[in-house]
């Protein structure tokens, strides 16, 4: 590897750490970034995959229970018709949003630090959306009839009710899943070609050759590719905001105290990005260590992601405060009671977890040292994941336990199938992610090469400036 020492590069004093350690040449970059795919299978990877597959097996068992016995195997009841399933749905879809934010919005803002984490985050989006999409479908009770939600000229001679938020959800989630996949794959095509060309064995060359469609790095193609990629980023940006807005409409346009709130769309979007960045950290911190991506995913990336987490965490905290304020200011006794019930009712412990994990814990990120400490960040990211799940549970299920008429109140407690579907989906997500890390380029290689060119250009200018000042 021909790397120049990081010390020789003039560093902007305002920048705490570089976005790319050293200036490895293209061969070294390709080699180091493709190593997880081209090296022999590691025992650790196989072991972890095995554990996750066991979890996935349990998840399949739980799905079997739901499909063959019906949703009565859940703890759901009337009034708590939406509980773990919808909580999990909102949690997973929210996690997905950080991937789109990193790959699309930061691309439009020309944030250089996004380049080495975007592919990773996009894959996370894709798998999170796959997990999310499952829950509303199994919650239908008869999921094999899910296509009734699609407007087609059926013999039933009836159409979906487009004035309800639930058909909006169908369109939002399916569009989001599709566009995320297209964006991810379009970015992958040049890297799959790199993988085809770097692979030594015939099988990989053929498989990646087919997957890359015959990409030959043509300037005539790059020209359109760049425009198309940027346009997809531009389209994904409002899309990601619209998706979580529509998810929040499922609640906000209803009448239920605790759901009927105009602050939901922005507060849900901020919460989605908050939890998604936490998930990127949860996945990235072990992966960069295990696969030796530390030269492209530097402390600078961790620092920046922490700052986004801190900012969105504060927005979420503002949302919590504003919910309380409006509950009091509205003068509506049922609304006030819904919040009073969160604080002192039977689910107060979950509300306390929510407040601790989402409001109190992230404040440690004000300390610059905490923002680059992988251990603190890893633990915090897990706390935030838990806290955001608790938030969705409090909103979805706890609001339902206490509606307008005390005679219809009922508590909710989950069954083993509820728990199994939650933890099983994490394992399934993990399996998909492990397979992605092994078989696809997890870092956008062509983009890192382009980034290296840009940074060299900057180094050059910085060096020239220093020389001019010295003279």
């Amino acid at each position: 590897m021909s790397t120049t020492s990081p010390k020789t590069i003039p560093v902007d004093p305002l920048e705490s750490a570089p976005v790319l350690v050293g200036r490895p040449d293209d061969v070294a970059l390709t080699e180091s970034l493709l190593r997880p795919v081209l090296e022999p299978v590691r025992k650790g990877w196989l072991g972890l995959l095995g554990i996750l597959m066991a979890g996935m097996g349990f998840w399949t068992l739980c799905l079997y229970e739901v499909l063959f016995k019906g949703i009565g195997v859940w703890g759901n009841n009337i009034p708590v018709a939406w509980a773990y399933d919808i909580t999990n749905f909102v949690w997973w879809i929210g996690i997905g949003h950080a991937g789109t934010l990193i790959s699309a919005i930061l691309l439009l803002f020309q944030q250089k630090w996004r380049t080495s984490i975007n592919r990773f985050a996009e894959a996370m989006t894709l798998f999170a959306v796959a997990m999310a999409g499952l829950y509303p479908i199994i919650h239908l009770g008869r999921p094999w009839l899910f296509w009734w939600l699609i407007p087609y000229p059926a013999t039933l001679q009836i159409w979906p009710n487009f004035k309800s938020a639930l058909p909006w959800d169908v369109f939002a989630i399916s569009t989001y899943g599709t566009v995320s996949f297209l964006f991810w794959y379009l970015g992958l095509v040049p890297d799959l070609a790199t993988l085809r060309d770097a692979a030594k064995d015939r099988t990989r060359r053929i498989v990646y050759g087919i997957l890359s469609f015959g990409w030959r790095g043509s300037a005539r193609h790059w020209q359109h590719w760049r425009v198309g990629y940027l346009l997809l980023a531009g389209l994904s940006t409002p899309l990601v905001v619209s998706v979580h807005t529509i998810v929040s409409f499922d609640f906000a346009i209803s009448q239920l105290p605790g759901w009927h709130t105009t602050i939901f769309p922005p507060y849900f979007v901020a919460g989605a990005i908050f939890s998604g960045f936490a998930m990127v950290l949860t996945l990235m911190i072990p992966a960069r260590k295990a696969f030796g991506f530390e030269h492209v995913v530097t402390p600078r990336h961790l620092d920046n992601m922490s700052k986004v987490m801190l900012a969105t965490g504060l927005m979420v905290s503002y949302g919590y405060a504003m919910e309380w304020f409006i509950a009091w200011y509205s003068g509506s006794p049922t609304e006030w009671f819904a919040f009073y019930n969160r604080l002192v009712g039977p689910y107060r412990l979950i509300y306390a977890v929510q407040l601790f994990c989402n409001v109190v814990a992230p404040q440690i990120l004000w300390l610059p040292r905490a923002r680059t400490n992988v251990l603190i960040l890893f633990l915090l990211s897990i706390l935030v994941n838990i806290g955001m799940w608790a938030e969705r549970f409090v909103i979805v299920a706890v609001s339902l336990t206490r509606d307008f008429i005390p005679s219809s109140w009922a508590n909710y407690s989950p069954t083993w199938v509820d728990w199994g579907l939650l933890f099983g989906s994490m394992c399934t997500f993990g399996v998909l992610f492990m397979l992605f890390l092994r078989f696809m380029p997890a870092i956008a290689i062509s983009e890192v090469k382009e980034l290296r060119r840009e940074l060299e250009h900057e180094d050059h200018h910085a060096a020239a400036r220093t020389a001019a000042e010295g003279a």
Binding site: P160, Y185, F213, G214
Partner: protein
């Protein structure tokens, strides 16, 4: 019968200069191949502005309009459904699906338009891949390719050597349309 003349260059500047020089001579169809988009390639090859945005705009507007019409006709005209006494034609309620379908159509047109119409993919077997060293085009190599008549091939190969190519190869294309 066309032949592909391939030249490999060591740095971007030499590559772009060679492309400009060959273009000035009016030689065949030129192309550059690189592992990342080279800045200035569009200008050196004299490429026109990409038309992808127009395709995306047309598709996006089509998607949005059809999304709106779909909702207006199904729940407003064909089967007016009274839920919460909202009017059969409720524009605010139709916005989310209209927006989503606009984005969906635009994205599909970009992806499939690029791959199948602009790039003419899938094409896993292209004459340039005949050169074993061309593998580097996706790793660290900067290549120039020129599709020329078989008779011109040797002359262009000579030009490429003169313009600083490190290696030059000629691939005759066999029986492709």
């Amino acid at each position: 019968m066309t032949s592909f003349v391939l030249g490999e260059f060591g740095e971007e500047k030499a590559l772009l200069d060679a492309a400009r020089a060959l273009r000035a001579k009016g030689i065949g169809t030129l192309d550059l191949h690189s592992p990342y988009p080279v800045h200035g390639a569009d200008e050196a090859l004299g490429l026109r502005r990409s038309t992808v945005p127009i395709v995306a705009l047309v598709a996006g507007v089509t998607g949005a309009v059809s999304g709106y019409v779909l909702q207006w006709w199904t729940v407003g005209i064909d089967w007016p459904l009274n839920v919460g006494n909202r009017p059969p034609h409720s524009p605010p309620a139709f916005i989310p699906v209209t927006f989503e379908l606009g984005v969906l159509f635009a994205s599909l047109s970009i992806f499939f338009g690029l791959l199948f119409a602009y790039f003419r993919f899938p094409r896993v077997h292209h004459p340039v891949f005949e050169v074993e060293a061309f593998r580097s085009a996706s790793i660290d190599g900067l290549w120039l390719s020129a599709a020329v008549g078989r008779t011109e091939a040797d002359e262009v190969a000579g030009d490429l050597r003169r313009l600083g190519a490190r290696t030059v190869s000629i691939v005759p294309e066999e029986g492709t349309p």
